[in-house]
Symmetry: D2
C-alpha cells in the first residue's frame, strides 16, 4: 500500500506516521517525489482500511493498494486452472461444457423431455429453476421443493447432473441430490448465503451481480472458498448499463480479465444477458470464440407458453442447430464439446 502525503508535511509528522505503522508490525519505505512525497507500507495490508487512513489522517492525501484483496481465487497464488469434475463431466479443462435447460421447472414431462433432447444435442448438465427470484411478488415464484423432485427425476432418466438455484440458507437440506448449487446474480453479495453454500461440499455456480465489478465477483468467490469449497464456477450474465436495447449488456471481455486474474472456470449465460432469443446463438458462438469454459443457456420445449422468461429461451431444434455450429468451432480450436 502506498500513502501519498499532502504537501508541506513536516518530517516529524512523517516520522510519527511511519513509527505508528511500524509499531503495528509493518515495514515502511520513504519515497520522496517532486510534487508529493509518499510512504510505502509493507506487510499484510489486506486488513488495513485504506480509505479510513486517507480521510482521517491529516497528513495523507491519497493511497493506493498494490495487491489484490482476494487470495484463494487469485491466479497469483494458484497458477494452474481449476478443473471441476462431476461424474464424467468436467469444467475448466480446456473443453467447452454446455449447461442447458428451462428457466423454470414446470412438469416432469417438460423437464425430462428437455433434458433428453438437449443431451442428444450435446449438453452435459441440466439446469432448471425450482426457487425463482422474481422482481414482482405477484409473479410465479417457482415450484419449490416439488421442482427439485422433478429435476431429480430428469437426472435419473437421463444421467445428466443437475444445477439449480438456492435462494436462502434454510434450503440447504433440500439440495442433497443437486450436483451444482447456483447462487443467483441478486444474491452474489448475500454473504451469509455464500458462507453456508461454501460448506455444502458441492461445486458452486456463482453468477455475477448486475452491477458487480469483476473484483467483487472474485471477492464473493473468496467467501465461498474461505468456507471450504474450492470448486467455484464463475458466470458472466450481463451487467447493467445505460443501454436498454438488450436486457443487460453482456460483458464479454470479463472472460479475458477473469482468465488472467483467477484459476477458476468461467462460463457465459447469453440468455439472461440479452433477454432476446434471436440473439442467443450469435452470443453463444462469441462466448466460445472469446475463450469461455462453457455456456449456461435456456432451452424450453414450448417457449411461447413458458411460465417464465420464454422470450429468451431457445426451442430444442434451435438449440440443436446451435450445438452443430459450436461443434465446428470446437473442431478448429481442438477443444472438446
Amino acid at each position: 500500500m502506498v500513502f501519498i502525503l499532502k504537501k508541506g508535511v513536516s518530517q516529524s509528522a512523517v516520522q510519527e506516521f511511519r513509527k505508528d505503522w511500524e509499531s503495528k508490525g509493518f515495514s515502511t519505505i520513504w519515497a520522496p517525489g517532486t510534487d508529493h512525497d509518499a510512504v510505502c507500507l509493507i506487510g499484510n495490508t489486506s486488513t488495513v482500511d485504506m480509505d479510513a487512513v486517507v480521510y482521517t489522517n491529516p497528513i495523507v492525501a491519497y493511497a493506493r493498494r498494490v495487491t489484490e484483496p482476494y487470495k484463494a481465487a487469485s491466479r497469483t497464488v494458484h497458477e494452474d486452472n481449476t478443473v471441476i469434475t462431476i461424474g464424467d463431466v468436467t469444467i475448466g479443462d480446456g473443453g467447452f461444457t454446455v449447461i442447458a435447460g428451462p428457466c423454470s421447472v414446470e412438469t416432469e414431462d417438460q423437464i425430462t423431455t428437455i433434458a433428453r433432447l438437449t443431451k442428444q444435442s450435446g449438453a452435459k448438465i441440466l439446469r432448471g429453476g425450482a426457487f425463482k427470484p422474481r422482481t414482482s411478488p405477484y409473479s410465479f415464484q417457482g415450484l419449490g421443493k416439488e421442482g427439485l423432485a422433478l429435476l431429480s427425476a430428469a437426472k435419473k432418466a437421463t444421467g445428466l447432473p443437475i444445477v439449480t438455484e438456492i435462494m436462502n440458507q434454510t434450503q440447504t437440506p433440500l439440495f442433497e441430490d443437486v450436483d451444482i448449487v447456483q447462487i443467483g446474480a441478486r444474491n452474489m453479495q448475500n454473504y451469509d448465503l455464500l458462507k453456508e453454500v461454501g460448506k455444502m461440499g458441492k461445486p458452486v455456480l456463482l453468477k455475477r451481480g448486475l452491477s458487480s465489478s469483476i473484483d467483487e465477483l472474485l471477492m464473493s468467490a473468496e467467501y465461498i472458498m474461505s468456507s471450504g469449497c474450492s470448486d467455484v464456477i464463475l458466470c458472466e450474465r450481463g451487467i447493467r448499463t445505460f443501454e436498454t436495447s438488450t436486457r443487460n449488456t453482456l460483458d464479454i471481455s470479463a472472460v479475458c480479465v477473469l482468465k488472467e486474474k483467477t484459476h477458476l472456470p468461467v462460463i457465459i449465460d447469453p440468455s439472461h444477458a440479452c433477454g432476446i432469443r434471436s440473439y442467443v446463438p450469435a452470443l453463444s458462438k462469441a462466448a466460445f470464440a472469446v475463450g469461455a469454459d462453457g455456456l449456461l443457456v435456456e432451452v424450453h420445449n414450448d417457449p411461447a407458453h413458458a411460465l417464465c422468461d420464454g422470450a429468451q429461451s431457445l426451442d430444442p431444434e434451435q438449440f440443436g442447430n446451435l450445438m452443430s455450429q459450436l461443434k465446428k468451432y470446437a473442431q478448429i480450436e481442438n477443444r472438446s464439446i
Copy 2:
C-alpha cells in the same frame, strides 16, 4: 398494455390475436397507425409477461405497459403520505427525522456515548450495525448478537428507538427489541428475506440497491407490503455509475421521483453515498432542501479508530454543527426537526 404490430400483418391474424386475449378475459381495442397498427389490451395486465408476447408472437413488433406493476406502494392507489410512528417519533409527516449512529456497534461505552451526544444535538433514532455485510470475508463482520444487546443498552440509557440491519431470515427472533428493521442495499432483492421481514410487525427501512432502479426499489417495497407490513421507509444511498470520485453517486432526484410515485417516506444516507466525511454536511443540507423526510447519517466518537467506514463518519461535534444548520433550514421551511 399496448401491442404494436409488425407491418403487413393480415386482418385475420389480428382477429385471431384479439380473440385469443378476449378468451382470457381481456378487452381489446384496435388502433390503426400510419406506420404500424396497434392493439390495446384492457384488463388486469399485471400478470401478462409482456416480453414473452413480443418475442414469441410472430405478429407483434413492440409492446408498452401503461400501468405500474406495484400497487400497495403506489400513490395512485393511496394518495396520502404514510406517516410512521415509533413511540413519539414520526417519519413522513412533513418533519425532518434524523437517524444517527456508528457504522458498527463496538462497545457499550461507544454506542451509549454516541447515542447520548447525537440525541443532544437533535437525532431522533439511533442506528448501529451488529451484523455487517463486508465485501471481504477477511474484514470485521460485526459483533452480531452481542451488538444487538449493546444497542438495547443504549436504547434503555437514552430512550432512542433503534434501527439495525438484518442479514438473513434466521435472525428474525433476535430482533425483538429492535424498533426498525433495516434491509441493506445488497439485500434489496433478497426476496425471501423481504417476505420474512414483512411478517415481523415492525417498520422496515429499505435501502436502495447500488444498481437498482427506482421502480425496482418500489417492487421490493411491494414484497414487504404484500407480506403484511405497511410501514416501509425508503432510503436512497447512492447508485453505481461510471464516476469514481465519490464511492457512489447520490441520486438526489430520486427523492423527487419517489415523492411523486409513492406515499412512503423517503430518507437519504449521505455517508454511504459519498464515502467521504467532508462532503457529508453539504449533502445533508441538500437532502433537506430537496424535500427528503429525513437522514441516515454516520456518527462515530472516534472516526480515526472506527472498526468500519471511519472515513465517512462525522464526529459528534461535526454532527452538532450540521444539526444547528439544518435547524435554521427547517425554520425557513416551517418543518419540525
Copy 3:
C-alpha cells in the same frame, strides 16, 4: 404515439385534447382502460416533442412512441443490407473486412511498413491517425496534415484504401485522398461535423460514443445520411460502464441489435474497447463469431515505443497469427476474409 391519460379526466377535456391534435392534421383514437384511458395519435409523429406534451398538458400521465425516429438508417424502410465498395474492397456483403494500422501515423517508414505487413496477412484497408483527440492538451496531438501525406504515401505504396479521423469541419479540404472519413467517438454527436462530412461524397466510418445508446448512434448516422451520404459504417468500440478492468466495456450484443434495426454494416474495434493488447485476439474472434462485418484493429510495428496507445496495439506477428485463426473461422462460416 400513445398518450395515457390521468385518472378522472373529464370527457370534455378529452374531446378538446383530441380536437387540438386533429386540428394539427393528426387522427386520434380513443382507447379506454381499466386503470387509465389512452389516446392514440396517428400521423407523422416524428415532429412531436412527446415529453413536452406529457409535462405541460394537465390531462396526460404518460406517453409512448411507437415508431423509430430514424428513417434512412432503418431496416424497416430499407430491407437489404447496404454494401459499401471502395475500389475492389467491400464492406457489408457477408464477408469479414479487416481494417488495420497504428493509432497514430508517425513516420513514412512506420506507416508503409505496417501497411505492407498487415496487407500480407489479409488486411484490406489501412487505418492511421493524423489528427488525434487526446484527453490532455499536453499529450501528442498527431502529425496533422503531414500525417495525411504519409498515409497517402502508404496508400500509393501498397494499394490499400485509407481511413482516418476528421476532427472539425474546416479540415474537409485536406481529406481529398482519404477513402473513408472517420468520425471519432467523442464527436459522434458533433452534429455540425456530421452534416459537413455527409456532404463529402465519401463513405463515413462512424464510431459509437462512449455513452451513446444504439438509438443515438443511429440518429447520428441519420444526420450523415440526411446530408446525402448513404455509405455509413457503424463501429462499436466499447461503452462506459462501472467496470474498470477494461478501458471500456465492449458491447458485443450491439452487433445483434444493429443488424436487426439497420441495413448499414457494423464493425468492431476491439483495441479501443479493451485497451489491453493481450485481450485483442480473443475479442476479435468473438467479433467474427457474433456476426460483425469487420474489424478495426490497431497494429504497430513497435508497440513499446508507439507515440499513442501502444498498450493496445498488436505487433505485425501477433496480427498475422490472429488473421490465420480468423481465416479458419471464416472457412467454417463460408465467409470471405
Copy 4:
C-alpha cells in the same frame, strides 16, 4: 508514479528498468514489498503514458499515478477561488449567481419578455440557445445568427449579460456581443473547439459531458485554460446512468468534489439534469444547499408552446417563487443572490 513489479523479477532486470528511466531524467526509488516490489518514479510524469508502460514492459504488473494530470485548473497549484466578473456581475465570490432563460431563442418579444421578468425576480445573466444541438436532424435546430441578434436586443433592453452555446469553431466571429461562451455537454471533448474558444478572450461556461468523469471535465477546462482563458465556469448538468426516471442523474456530489479539486466556479443546471419541470425547484434549492456558485435554469414564458424542451422549463411565475425561496436560503447562509 509507482510501478508495481511482477513476482520473481530478477534484480538485473530491475536495475535496467530504473536506469532506463533515469536516462530520461527521472529519479527512481526502490520499494520492496511482501507480495510485490515496486519502483517509484520521481519527476514530471505527466508526459508518461502509464498504460503503455504497464502493457509493454514485461516486468511491470500495475502502475499508479500520484499527481493529477491537470495543472492550471488544479487547486493544488492555485489555492484561491477564481472569481469571474462580467460588468457588475460576479461568479465564484461566495454569492449565488442565477442564469435564466429559454432553451431556444424564438422571437424578440419572447426573449426580451423573459429577460425582463427573470431580471425582476433576481436573475443576473440571460441564457438562450441560438444554435441548438438536437439528437434528430429533423428537429428544430435553432434560429442561428438571427437568434444571436435577438439575444443582443434583449441584452440592450435589460442590461443583462448573455450566455449562449457555440457549436463549431467557424462561429467565433458571430459571438462578439456574447458575454459568456457556452460549450455544450456533447462538445465537452471536442478539443479543437475548446482550443479555439479558449482564444476568444471571454469567460467560458463548460458543461460536463453526459458520461464524462470529473477528471475529464477538468482536463477539458485545462484545454481552454492552456489556450489563454482563465475564466472557466464548470457546469454539472446530469450524467447518464442506468436510471431512467429522470432524463439524466444529477450528480450533486460533483460540486463537493470540484470545490475541493479546483478553484474554478461550479454551477448546476437542474433543468437538463432531470428534464421534468416539477422537480426543478427542489433540485435548485439542493444546488444552493450543497454549495454551488449558481444555477443555470430554463425559463419560458409559455412552456406548453416552447419550440424545444418545454417539458423542463419553469414559467416566470414559478421562477419568481423559486427565487423567493432561494433568497431565504441565501439569508441564513449569509450569501448574496
